[in-house]
């Protein structure tokens, strides 16, 4: 939430963003967050979080066209503020589709192509996470990855779709 406030500041083009709550949290101390008194007289002190400017946002989309117009189904989680705050946006997507398909329902396009620097088609690219509506979380793969043992990372990477040649 405080991170999102920082992303919002970046997407709004301002140096900081007020955010609700935070009072009583030591996160304010270790992050050196300041409060501002409401200049309009409510008497409330509000925490302000500095802008967070990601260099690059990588957004995994369901469908993308050759121009980078990217469609996401289901919950967008943080895709919207991340893509607006970042200096550069890269799209990975399950499928390459013709632009005419996106024209049919433009409200489903989360990131317009003019914001996008590069696109990669990566089928199963959210693995071992889920990608609505194509596939669910691969819980056994997550559990194998969680094991604290030699070679776990190498095995995980060898199993990943990008290693198996999924990128075009």
């Amino acid at each position: 939430m405080t991170l999102v406030a920082g992303l919002r500041a970046a997407s709004y083009g301002i140096p900081f963003q007020p955010v609700a709550g935070v009072h009583g949290s030591e996160l304010a101390r270790i992050n050196h967050w300041q409060t501002l008194r409401d200049p309009y007289g409510s008497g409330r002190d509000v925490y302000v979080v500095p802008a967070v400017h990601p260099d690059i946002a990588v957004i995994h989309a369901a469908e993308v066209d050759a121009e980078g117009n990217a469609r996401v189904y289901g919950s967008p989680f943080w895709d919207h503020p991340l893509s607006r705050a970042a200096k550069r946006v890269l799209i990975t997507a399950e499928k390459l589709v013709p632009t005419d398909r996106l024209r049919e329902q433009p409200e489903l396009t989360l990131v317009p192509g003019f914001m996008v620097e590069a696109v990669a088609i990566t089928a199963q690219g959210a693995w071992p996470g889920s990608m609505h509506p194509y596939y669910d979380i691969d819980y056994p793969a997550v559990e194998r990855y969680m094991e604290d043992a030699d070679g776990v990372l190498e095995k995980h990477l060898a199993e990943a779709p990008e290693t198996r040649g999924g990128i075009t």
Binding site: G21, V22, H23, S25, E26, L27, G74, S75, I137
Partner: protein
């Protein structure tokens, strides 16, 4: 499952569900499988209406399968709307979430939580995953409820190693006990109810903070509807197995 026999799993989930009030907007977040089950149980076992929204963006979902993870898109299935991260955090910030379940690694008698570090922040013994919005949600939600699957002096502490969030915590549910506090008055947790097969002395010995026991009662038994709803949600026993080991 016999109604008279609580397990750690059933005690936690049913007592989390009992925190929900009629007409409320209730939210479960990431890494919150037991609160997710509590909200789904309440939908099945209680007649009053309430709104359930979750971190995957689901609003009044009708899941076909109950996912292992509380942020799995399966918990959005059947929702007539998507209400994603920005929306539910903003709703909480403006005072529109009535009941929020937030996890904790440590909790103190004032209901403050630590999900940041064990040991000092600068030189931690364990670095924890972080608040996930807790510093904003705990003070802005009308009521917050937390849980622990262990009842120990490690988790229920007199002094937190780090204060991640402070605010409107009103209940703590463990396999043995339900503690409640008046957040508006800023009061300490009191023991409200407990697993009938344990004793107040046992709970006291395993709790790191001091608490009042004057109002403590054995927890009311599970109702038939609570039991049946829990059995249906845990049909494969994967959820109970993870807690009752």
């Amino acid at each position: 499952m016999n109604i008279a026999d609580w397990t750690p799993f059933s005690f936690i989930v049913v007592n989390l569900a009992r925190q929900i009030h009629a007409g409320e907007i209730t939210f479960s977040g990431v890494n919150s499988t037991l609160p997710m089950l509590a909200c789904l149980l309440a939908k099945r076992a209680y007649d009053f209406p309430f709104t359930y929204i979750n971190v995957a963006g689901g609003v009044e979902p009708q899941p076909i399968t109950i996912p292992q993870s509380s942020s799995d898109p399966a918990i959005v299935h059947g929702s007539p709307a998507i209400f994603a991260n920005q929306d539910f955090y903003d709703l909480c910030a403006r005072g529109g979430l009535d009941l929020v379940y937030l996890g904790c690694a440590q909790i103190d008698a004032e209901g403050r939580t630590n999900v940041s570090a064990i040991g000092s922040w600068e030189n931690p013994k364990v670095r924890l995953p972080g608040g996930g919005g807790a510093a904003v949600m705990l003070p802005t939600a009308k009521r917050v409820v937390t849980w622990r699957t262990d009842h120990s002096t490690r988790a229920l502490v007199d002094k937190l190693d780090f204060v991640t969030a402070a605010g409107n915590m009103t209940a703590l549910v463990t396999p043995l006990a339900v503690f409640t506090r008046d957040a508006r008055a800023g009061s300490r947790f009191i023991l409200e109810s407990y697993q009938p097969k344990t004793t107040i002395a046992h709970i006291t010995a395993h709790t790191g903070f001091q608490f009042d026991t004057a109002q403590a009662q054995p927890a009311a038994p599970m109702t038939v509807r609570e039991r049946d709803a829990l059995n249906a949600l845990d049909a494969g026993e994967q959820f109970s197995a993870a807690v009752n080991h």
